[in-house]
Symmetry: none
Subunit: 200 residues, 4 copies
DNA sequence: GATGAATGAGTATTCATTCAT
DNA sequence: GATGAATGAATACTCATTCAT
């Protein structure tokens, strides 16, 4: 009576299902970004997504699962971008590579401003749980590690350098999202400053 | 309605009142640091403070007022410390002054680790509302401004420099609080790195 | 500041608390008897008890706890009655003792008709969990055991005899509660019949 | 609206329809027996029956109708068995007839253990509504009535005798189903005991 | 007819706030 | 003032029922 369900092309229903799921996740992102991780009732999320509450539970087992899905989904989008940003600079001298990386990353982040706010808030509450931080950490480790190998970064400050970069990026992201300014223009000056130091 | 309370020496009753108030604020700090801004019911805070829920409302008009009081209280403690840190270095060359400032600040912060967690979490939810950020901003503005005047910092990156410092400090604070490590040892390397740049 | 709370006579507040608790349990009993173990919303129970929903949670951790408390409370009332009914006949010949026991038990049950309906229904869903069945079983075991010792009951049907008694009692209870008839008058004929058999 | 469906031989389609209906009822029985009258969501029943929820509504107007159908179906199966058990003993002396009846009944019940659990639970919630109780009552009334006619049972305990039999049977059924033991072996001892009384 | 996603009323539970003692 | 029980609005979650495909 049933078509084989393991090897079939996505049916129309599947596509709609996926669309609905995405709509719900988007709505959650929007409302959570606006009101915080605890300030977005499911009824509101449902309303914003154009569905009824019960529908949420056809896609997610509970509130936590929805939030987790939001993080997973964005992480799935952002991770390849980070990876690409890491790859693209492979072979370049450290300074050029770091600059390219930060520029690319901010470009990618600019398309996900709403989520970044959520992600950075969440970092305190659900540490390292599907956050973007570990991915960023990994990317920076690789790049700064290369810098050490190229003798462009002293080994004993390598970890600190990644902290400076990631800390500064977060600060910039928060400030610029709050102000409604784009992230991209911040990339270049940040890298320049970090590379050559605060003193001229 | 009462006798004027602004200009008489504190009676014993006033002192008790003040002590109770402080106990409540401390309890709030502790529980909010442990469970997040939304994970600390008033009944728990009261219990921890050794009073009944109803009593909270003799000291604070509502939950929000209590939280605001927590921030105010800590801000009141930390602001003079920051100011002192700013003052102490007055007249020093920029590099030395910045170093002294970060060292002093981390020393002060080390005594308020719990609150720092709360404050950094709150920054996302209630931006610039009684947070420590504006005070920090002001202090750094002054110090970095001096650096510009001393021609130790280029004017057009002044704002960015403060971002780098504050961003890096926050990153360090979070990581070290999470790890249970003291903040103080992080001060020196951070300043050195920021001053001379990532490249040797 | 606080009175010693471990060794004080029940205060007025304690008494009120107990009264409120009892009112809630009574309301639960009434509504569950009327609409079944799943047919009594907490809001209704609260309303019937004359309190708000939230109040229930000052006395019971959740719905299940309230139901458990209902069973515990009634069991606590009924168990001593059963025990007394067992004691009272001690030393009597088996037949007289069994008769006295059933008479006493039905007298006690008559005062708790509502709860009996609940208890008998619950026996299927929460087997042996704070039900009256185990207490009854124990009582009958003792009495019938004595009958065996007195050679008034053959050993190999002892267990079956208790089944017959308890089964018949339950059947009578259900029928008579449904019909609004008292239980007491059923006691005597039941025992007579069981003792001498169905045939004249 | 359709062609008259009452007087034509069952088409293939009718048979399939009937099979599907039966599968649904079976699934309902299984899940209700396992989780109680309120613990079996329609989605689960549908899944177990191998159909979609919506399909249930092509066979039953609502949940209640499905449950009613379950009871009707089993009643339709069990009633003739009871009737046969009643008939088979017609003409026998009371004792032999009662024995035969209980033996036959337990044999029949053994094939419907799952349903019996449901039926006995339901008796409390929806008394006399399509339960097996009334059929049993009728059968016992007839047999015990005959016993009275044969002067093997005193008229004034006739009703009570049926209570004893039915009560004891239910107790046995529940205990044995819970233990996973067959019902049949219980029949003989029960009847013997009831007939000759508890005393030797 | 069959499907299963969507619906939303119904219910349990939490917690800031009030107020009688 | 202090107490803590009472309040009820707010919220998460369930599930019978509907209906577009």
């Amino acid at each position: 009576m049933n078509r084989d369900s393991s090897r079939r092309r996505p049916t129309l229903r599947d596509q709609q299902r996926e669309a609905a799921r995405a709509a719900i996740v988007d709505a959650a992102e929007e409302l959570i970004a606006a009101h915080g991780l605890h300030g977005a009732p499911l009824v509101e999320i449902a309303k914003r997504a154009g569905v009824a509450v019960g529908t949420l539970y056809n896609y997610f087992t509970d509130r936590d699962d929805l939030v987790r899905a939001l993080f997973e989904s964005r992480r799935l989008t952002l991770r390849p971008m980070l990876a690409a940003a890491v790859e693209r600079g492979r072979g370049l001298p450290f300074a050029a590579r770091l600059r390219a990386f930060v520029v690319d990353t901010f470009a990618a982040y600019d398309q996900h401003r709403r989520f970044l706010k959520v992600a950075i808030e969440a970092e305190h509450l659900r540490p390292n749980n599907n956050t973007i931080a570990p991915d960023m950490q990994k990317a920076l480790d690789e790049i700064v590690g290369e810098g050490v190998a190229q003798q462009q970064v002293e080994a004993d400050v390598a970890e600190l350098v990644t902290d400076v970069i990631w800390g500064t990026m977060k600060a910039s992201v928060l400030r610029r999202i709050a102000d409604g300014r784009p992230l991209a223009p911040a990339a270049d000056p940040i890298v320049t400053l970090i590379l050559r130091g605060a003193r001229p």
